[in-house]
Symmetry: C2
Subunit: 493 residues, 2 copies
């Protein structure tokens, strides 16, 4: 049955190549004719739609609404917040003209020099500036607060080295931008949205994450505090899967957004922003998949079950079709998404390999003997095991199986992370262990000098100052100076 | 009760001003700091989300899947299809640089002259070129066909005069791009998607539409045929609400997309594209709304019912709250979306006016006498009538009322269009009647010269050559030359 139609590099051979092969061969995405921009193919986009729909529901449950702000941002807006400009106004797409014209030499079209913009427009790399410029007109009094808005959008950050989903010049994301009357409320919002992200990652993506704060050096440009969720990939590298920023009054001051508080005094508004992107697709792929292809958690699989008929002639197929129709109806009644692939131009072996590659959680196969015995073969993608089961109650069996797969994938990733998380006390040991990969809990003196030195010498960064777990003080592994708690180091995507 | 918190220009006074006032005051959208780009506010975006969700479901039911293609298109791509370049590569946003740097004179940031792109990138005004360049690698044989892909995206067409939703430089839309093995199949797809649009407009937006073909002069740049749905606004002007294009083999030839047919011969692929945009919001607003504000069809209203308590003190409010909780639960059980507005900082009169302005289809109000009598006041937005009804079976009552409102809004628009559709035989009468507005059915000789002359002299365009209705031949009202059937003229948005 192991029909190798599309060869995949193995993870042990070359993890980066395995990832790239998998994204291409499972039809998730590909590079486009535009440098650094990807095409998200239908199968990949169907997973992204599942991610979007679930997150959107969770945002709405927590009181947020969606809106849409312009793609373009006037160049001058970036200069208004001093840190923000350093972080974002550099590698970006700049619109300078608004018209093309026919080349007078007859060679296609050229940019019309007469159509130069007075002020250049930047394709949004993130929308704090344009949004806070808009909020100025929306906020007069405490009665206008809070504003709890989210936007689903495309953004562009010009990247020199790109990798499908993980780092692309254009990517899709959501960005929440909230406005609050008090610091406490904004801080609570920042934390709440981090918790939403963590819940999504763990319950839906089946990816365990560490929650924590970034060091000052790793904060979002313009934020007073950045919280993050950090996941561990199978190669031992960390991946930042979502961030939530407490922006203080920085953007309110930069764009002069004040409100009259209950006491009738003018105050600057407090704000947060938070986002996840198509990068989550990279995390999802790398966290669970194996050398046979994708492994998708049932909750995010475009279809959870595929049914493949095994037959010799049209008459047999007709009999199986009739039997399967009832199974499909039963599965749909229980809310299970199912595809019956009775296409005649592909052999069962090809189909088995194809759906394995695409990570369909459960595969059901029915042949003539099954038909006689009222049985069906059920194979699970996560363990690659299969068993023959009765068609009676198959829908309930599959539903339970999907729940078990969702739990098992999470547990596997959780156990892997537990194995790959170690505590280290000396810098020598750190340098040795960082080569193996994984999360390293170590003491750090809190200075950016030490952080930079570690990064230069080991390529490891502080992923976060974790919110949970042991919080005992100690001594920095590098300088011996006091440390309030261990922080999490790793090499990262 | 008529608390005029936000004054609206009346339609008879100034229709254009009424529209603009309404979009702003109902919190649907506003102009942004970027010329021609709008901010879609949460209430407006919630309507767009309803539109999106319903259309997306209909696209999927007809076998389509979503994908995502790059925002940017290399300039040279536009030159590949001769007609397309004339239509689209003119007023567009051109990215020429990919980096900013600090101004050496210390004044913010400037475009880095060293970061000039080798080839300029155009922000997509429509995606045929980048998509067909991609399809070339996806299509080898007839087995790879059809490709039935849709994309939800933002696009940019630099516009000099913009109006919220109706004509903006950036807008949101969906664009379907399909690839087929035969001309017949592509033509059937073109027609099928027009029918989907018409069904959506009539059943969900409650806007009756004419289906027909555009004249050659009004076709999409690069299409062999453009079908459209045309709606009539209350000021007697037409609005093109959706288009579906039969592209023949034009883009396949421009991007060299060939396939091996069943006979083993190489052929160019046949294609279609079809789209609707946030312009639909303009049609929705203008088709039904009145001098009191928006009138929304229940199927697209962000919430269908609002409940307002009328009370004198906290004790009374608590009693009403308790009663309303049961009503809300009953409505939700029947799938009705409902908002209970018991906010204390606004008076009932203010709330009544606000929800009237926002077009909420049904308003329920409960005071102390209602509480005693087990009744509630139900007001419908479309007719502005109200009645006091029993709380028993209120959910069923409201559900039926919503269906009635949906039907009534459609019928009203349908009757209006019937009144405003006339048949004219002489050009003199045409010139007179076009001043009144509405659809005019008249004979035309089929030449672009006559079409242009009518446009110049009367500002009327041929909206479509209708598919349905009377098809008797006659003589062109202008030239007296033979005409195969009457076509539909109107002044248009």
């Amino acid at each position: 049955m192991a029909v190798e139609i599309k060869e995949l590099t193995s993870r042990s051979e070359n993890y980066a190549q395995w990832y790239n092969d998998l994204v291409l061969k499972a039809d998730l995405a590909e590079n486009s004719a535009v440098r650094g921009c990807m095409v998200i193919k239908p199968y990949g986009y169907a997973i992204w739609e599942k991610i979007q729909r679930q997150l959107d529901d969770m945002f709405k449950e927590t009181g947020h609404v969606n809106a849409y702000f312009p793609l373009f941002i006037p160049k001058s807006f970036f200069s208004k917040e001093a840190n923000h400009v350093e972080g974002f106004a550099k590698e970006c797409a700049v619109v300078t003209h608004y018209r093309l014209k026919n080349d007078p030499n007859g060679k296609g079209v050229i940019v019309d020099p007469d159509a130069k913009l007075e002020e250049e427009l930047i394709v949004r790399p993130t929308s704090e500036t344009i949004i806070w410029n808009t909020y100025r007109n929306w906020i007069q009094s405490y009665r206008d607060l809070p504003i709890l808005i989210n936007q689903w959008a495309n953004v562009v950050r010009w990247e020199m080295r790109t990798r499908l989903f993980l780092r692309t010049s254009e990517f899709l994301w959501q960005e929440g931008h909230t406005a609050h009357a008090t610091q406490e409320e904004a801080m609570a919002e920042t934390r709440k949205m981090l918790d939403v992200y963590a819940e999504f990652a763990e319950k839906y993506m089946a990816v365990p994450v560490l929650k924590g704060a970034k060091t000052p050096g790793e904060r979002f440009a313009g934020a007073l505090d950045t919280y993050c969720i950090e996941a561990l990939m199978q190669d031992g590298k960390a991946l930042q899967a979502g961030t939530s920023h407490f922006l203080g009054q920085n953007f309110a001051k930069a764009f002069d957004v004040q409100f009259l508080n209950k006491e009738g005094k003018r105050e600057y508004v407090w704000s947060t922003s938070w986002g996840v992107s198509t990068r989550l697709m990279g995390a999802l792929i790398m966290a669970h998949s194996d050398d046979n292809g994708l492994v998708l958690p049932p909750k995010l699989a475009p279809f959870q079950v595929v049914i493949v008929p095994i037959y010799k002639n049209d008459e047999q197929l007709a009999q199986i079709d009739a039997k399967v129709a009832g199974i499909v109806a039963g599965l749909k009644d229980l809310g299970v998404s199912v595809k019956y692939d009775n296409s005649q131009n592909k052999k069962p072996g090809w189909k088995f390999a194809e759906y394995e590659l695409k990570g369909v959680p459960v595969r059901l196969a029915m042949g003539m003997r099954d038909l006689e015995n009222n049985t069906i073969e059920a194979a699970r993608r996560d363990t690659l095991t299969k068993e023959t089961v009765s068609v009676e109650n198959i829908a309930v069996y599959v539903k339970n199986l999907l729940e078990d797969i969702q739990r098992n994938i999470y547990r596997k990733a959780f156990d892997f992370r537990a194995e790959q998380t170690i505590t280290v006390d000396s810098y020598d040991e750190f340098k040795e262990k960082i080569e193996v990969g994984g999360f390293i809990l170590a003491h750090w003196d809190g200075t950016s000098e030490t952080e930079e030195r570690i990064k230069e010498e080991t390529k490891a960064t502080i992923r976060c100052i974790p919110f949970e777990g042991e919080k005992t003080p100690g001594k920095c592994m590098v300088t011996g100076k006091p440390s309030a708690q261990r922080v999490v180091f790793a090499r990262a995507y």
